[in-house]
C-alpha cells in the first residue's frame, strides 16, 4: 500500500517506524507478561537457555575434551574428579555430555529450520495457487505422512548409509511435509480474510500477498510447532543413534552414549543414566516452552 499518500503516512524515518511498530511492541510485552505467569513455562525457558549456553560455551565449561581418555580411570563412579563418572575407555561423562549438546542441538536446529523452510515454501505455494498443484502436493505429503517418522527416517538412513549427515538428511525428508500441511492450512484460512482481499483490491501481486501478509500472520503457529518439533527431533535422532544409525563409535552424542552405557548397565549405571537425563531435560524444555507459547498465542485463550 506504499502508493497511498495520505497525510497520516507522510511522516518518515524513525518516528514513523516507531509509530508502526508500537502496537507490535505492546503485543510482545503483553505476551512476555502472560508467559511469566506460569512457573512451568519460565522453568522451560531457563532450561532451554541453559542448554543453548552449554552448547555455545562447551570449550570453556567442559573439564575434558570430547575425545579425551584417561585410561587409568575406566568405569569410575561419580566422584569430585568426574562428577558423572567415567565410561569404559576412561572418558569423562560430564564433559562428553556437554560436548554432545553441541552436536545434538545442531542436528535438531538444522532439521527443524530446513524442514520449516522447505515445508513453508511448498505449503504456501500449494495453498495459494490451489487447483492441480495443490492436489498433487497434498498427495505427496500424504505419502510421507503415511509412515511413522522414526521408521521412514530409519529406512532412508539405511539407504543413504549410516552416519550423522545422512541421519540429518533423513530427518529433514521426514519432517518437511508436516510444515507444508500446516502452512497450507494457514494460507487457506488467511486467504479468505478481509485484509488479504483489501491487499488484492489495491493490486498487490500474489508473491507480495504471500510474503508480506499471509506468512507473517502464520508465524506464531509455525513458531509453536518448531519449538515442539525441536524436542521431537532430539528424541528421534537420539533413538536412531541408539540403535546404530547415527553417531559412530567414540563420538560424543547422547543416544550413542546411552547405547554404549547399555553394555555396562548393571556395573556402571551412570554411563547410561546421565546422557539420558540430558535428552529428557532438553526435550522437556522445548515442550514446556512450546506448550507455553501455544497457550499464550492462542487468541481464544489470550484475553
Amino acid at each position: 500500500m506504499a502508493e497511498l499518500k495520505s497525510p497520516l503516512r507522510m511522516k518518515s524515518g524513525i518516528s514513523k517506524w516507531r509509530e508502526d511498530m508500537a502496537p507490535r511492541v505492546r503485543e510482545l510485552r503483553f505476551t512476555i507478561y502472560l508467559l511469566r505467569q506460569s512457573p512451568l513455562v519460565v522453568a522451560g525457558f531457563i532450561l532451554m537457555f541453559a542448554f543453548i549456553a552449554m552448547a555455545i560455551f562447551a570449550p570453556w565449561i567442559a573439564p575434558y575434551g570430547p575425545e579425551e581418555r584417561i585410561w587409568e580411570a575406566k568405569l569410575q563412579p561419580p566422584s569430585s574428579q568426574h562428577i558423572f563418572g567415567t565410561d569404559e575407555s576412561g572418558g569423562d561423562i560430564f564433559s562428553r555430555i556437554i560436548w554432545a549438546s553441541q552436536l545434538d542441538l545442531a542436528i535438531a536446529v538444522t532439521v527443524v529450520v530446513t524442514a520449516m523452510a522447505i515445508g513453508s515454501a511448498m505449503g504456501a505455494a500449494s495453498g495459494y495457487l490451489g487447483g492441480k498443484i495443490d492436489e498433487v502436493m497434498m498427495r505427496i505429503t500424504d505419502i510421507f505422512l503415511a509412515f511413522p517418522a522414526l521408521i521412514l527416517a530409519m529406512t532412508i538412513a539405511a539407504a543413504l548409509g549410516r552416519n550423522l549427515t545422512n541421519l540429518t538428511i533423513a530427518l529433514i525428508v521426514v519432517w518437511w511435509p508436516a510444515y507444508a500441511r500446516l502452512i497450507r492450512g494457514q494460507v487457506l484460512s488467511e486467504r479468505e480474510k478481509l485484509y488479504v482481499e483489501a491487499a488484492r483490491a489495491v493490486g498487490a501481486p500474489t508473491r507480495r500477498i504471500i510474503f508480506r501478509h499471509v506468512l507473517p500472520n502464520s508465524i506464531y503457529p509455525l513458531l509453536v510447532n518448531a519449538t515442539l518439533d525441536l524436542g521431537g527431533v532430539i528424541l528421534t535422532a537420539a533413538g536412531l543413534s541408539f540403535i546404530g544409525f547415527g553417531a559412530g563409535a567414540g563420538i560424543a552424542e547422547w543416544g550413542r552414549m546411552i547405547a554404549d552405557g547399555r553394555n555396562y548397565l548393571f556395573q556402571s549405571p551412570w554411563m547410561a543414566t546421565f546422557p539420558g537425563l540430558a535428552i529428557l531435560l532438553s526435550a522437556l524444555a522445548m515442550n514446556l516452552v512450546g506448550d507455553g507459547l501455544r497457550d499464550v498465542l492462542d487468541p481464544r485463550l489470550r484475553r
Binding site: 512451568l40 498427495r139 505427496i140 500424504d142 505419502i143 503415511a146 509412515f147 511413522p148 517418522a149 522414526l150 521408521i151 521412514l152 530409519m154 529406512t155 532412508i156 539405511a158 539407504a159 543413504l160 524436542g231 528424541l235 537420539a238 533413538g239 541408539f242 540403535i243 546404530g244 544409525f245 543416544g255 546411552i258 552405557g261 547399555r262 548397565l265 548393571f266 549405571p269 547410561a272 543414566t273 546422557p275 539420558g276 535428552i279 529428557l280 526435550a283 522437556l284 522445548m286 515442550n287 514446556l288 506448550d291
Partner: protein, 355 residues
C-alpha cells in the same frame, strides 16, 4: 436427516477406501526407490551363503524371474505385481525365510505388545485426564501434567533401560521378587508346557488352551516393555482428555445439568465423558504411529522377538528384502489404523460432515 445417515456413511467409507489407492501406490514407490538406493535389488531375492558357482546362476535366475533387466518403470510394475501375489522377497538375516513368513512370525509379538500398550494408556490416561480437568490448578492437576509432560519428553529406550535396572537388577540383588529382564516368555516354561499356536498372541493362546504356566510367564514378561511403550501414549491421551474435558465442562448443557441439581459424578460420567472422548479417540489413531516406532526401540532393549527387532537387525546387515517388507507393512498398518479411527470418529460425532 437421521435416515440419510447410513447411506452417507457408506459413501464416506467408499470414498476413503478409494483415496487409499494413490497413497498405497505412493508408498510402494517409496519402498521401491529406497530398495534401489540401498543396493542391488537382486539382493532382496538372493539367499545368503550360497556357493560361488551356483550364485551366478541364481542371480541370473532372479533377474529373469523378477524382470530386473527391464526398464525401471517395468521393474516397478513387476514389483507391485509380486507384492500383490505375496512374493515379498526373502529375509537373509532371518535364515533366508520368505519375508511374508518372517512377518507372520514376528507380527503377532509386536501387535500383542502394541495392544497391551494401547490398553494400558487408555485405562490410565482417561481417568488421569478426567482427574486433572476436574481438579484444575490443584496439586493433583500439576502432578498429572508433570507426569504427562515427562512422558512426552522421555527417550523411550532410556526409560526402558531404567525399568530394567530398577525392576530386574535392583529387585534381584535385594532378593525381592523381580520381573524378567528380556524376552517374551521363559524358554524352560515353553519347553515343559508347549503352547499350541492359535492366534500367535501368547497371552490369548495360553488362555484359550488353558496353559497357565505360559500365561503367567508371558504376562510377567510383557509388563515392563508394555509399560515402557505405553508411557508416551499415556501422556498424549492424558493431555488430550484433560483439554477436551475442560472444553466440554464449559458448555451450557453442563451448566444446565449442574443447575438441575445432578451430582458431580453424574454430570461428569453421564453427560460430559462421551463428548470429551471424541478427540481422545482421534489422538489414539495418531499415537498408533508413535507406538509402532516406539516398538522398534522397545523391542531392541527388551530383546522382544517382534518386527522392530527383526527390522533393525535387517538394516544393520543390509537385508533389503526385510527392510522393504517391514516399511511397506508398517505404512499399511498405520494408514488402516487411521482409517478405522476416522470411521469411529465419524460414527461418534454426528456433527462431522462426511465429505
Amino acid at each position: 436427516m437421521r435416515e440419510a445417515f447410513p447411506l452417507k456413511m457408506r459413501d464416506y467409507i467408499i470414498r476413503r477406501l478409494l483415496l487409499l489407492i494413490p497413497v498405497l501406490m505412493g508408498i510402494s514407490m517409496v519402498t521401491f526407490t529406497l530398495s534401489h538406493m540401498i543396493g542391488d535389488p537382486v539382493a532382496a531375492y538372493l539367499p545368503g551363503g550360497a556357493v560361488e558357482r551356483i550364485r551366478e546362476q541364481q542371480i541370473q535366475q532372479i533377474i529373469k524371474a523378477h524382470h530386473l533387466d527391464e526398464p525401471i518403470y517395468m521393474q516397478y510394475w513387476y514389483y507391485v505385481n509380486d507384492i500383490m501375489r505375496g512374493d515379498w522377497g526373502i529375509s537373509r538375516s532371518d535364515h533366508d525365510r520368505p519375508v511374508v513368513v518372517s512377518i507372520q512370525n514376528y507380527f503377532p509379538a509386536t501387535f500383542e505388545l502394541t495392544l497391551v500398550a494401547i490398553v494400558v494408556s487408555l485405562l490410565m490416561g482417561i481417568p488421569m485426564g478426567i482427574i486433572s480437568a476436574t481438579k484444575k490448578d490443584k496439586p493433583a492437576d500439576h502432578a498429572t501434567r508433570l507426569f504427562s509432560l515427562t512422558g512426552i519428553s522421555i527417550p523411550i529406550f532410556w526409560f526402558a533401560l531404567l525399568l530394567q535396572y530398577t525392576f530386574f537388577y535392583q529387585l534381584k540383588i535385594n532378593k525381592l521378587p523381580y520381573l524378567p529382564l528380556e524376552g517374551r516368555v521363559d524358554d524352560f516354561v515353553m519347553i515343559s508346557h508347549p503352547l499350541k499356536t492359535v492366534t500367535g498372541f501368547y497371552i490369548l493362546d495360553s488362555i484359550i488352551t488353558g496353559n497357565w504356566p505360559v500365561l503367567i510367564s508371558s504376562l510377567s514378561h510383557i509388563i515392563l516393555p508394555g509399560f515402557a511403550l505405553a508411557y508416551a501414549t499415556l501422556a498424549l491421551i492424558t493431555r488430550m482428555m484433560r483439554s477436551s474435558m475442560l472444553e466440554v465442562l464449559r458448555q451450557d448443557y453442563i451448566t444446565l445439568a449442574k443447575s438441575k441439581g445432578l451430582s458431580e459424578r453424574v454430570v461428569i460420567y453421564k453427560h460430559a465423558l462421551k463428548n470429551a472422548m471424541i478427540p481422545t479417540v482421534t489422538v489414539t489413531g495418531i499415537a498408533f504411529g508413535g507406538l509402532l516406532a516406539g516398538a522398534v526401540l522397545t523391542e531392541t532393549v527388551f530383546a522382544w522377538p517382534g518386527m522392530g527387532r527383526w527390522a533393525t537387525g535387517a538394516i544393520l546387515t543390509d537385508d533389503i528384502g526385510a527392510i522393504m517388507g517391514f516399511t511397506l507393512l508398517i505404512a499399511v498398518v498405520y494408514i488402516v489404523a487411521n482409517l478405522i479411527v476416522d470411521l469411529i470418529y465419524a460414527a461418534l460425532d454426528p456433527r462431522i460432515k462426511l465429505g
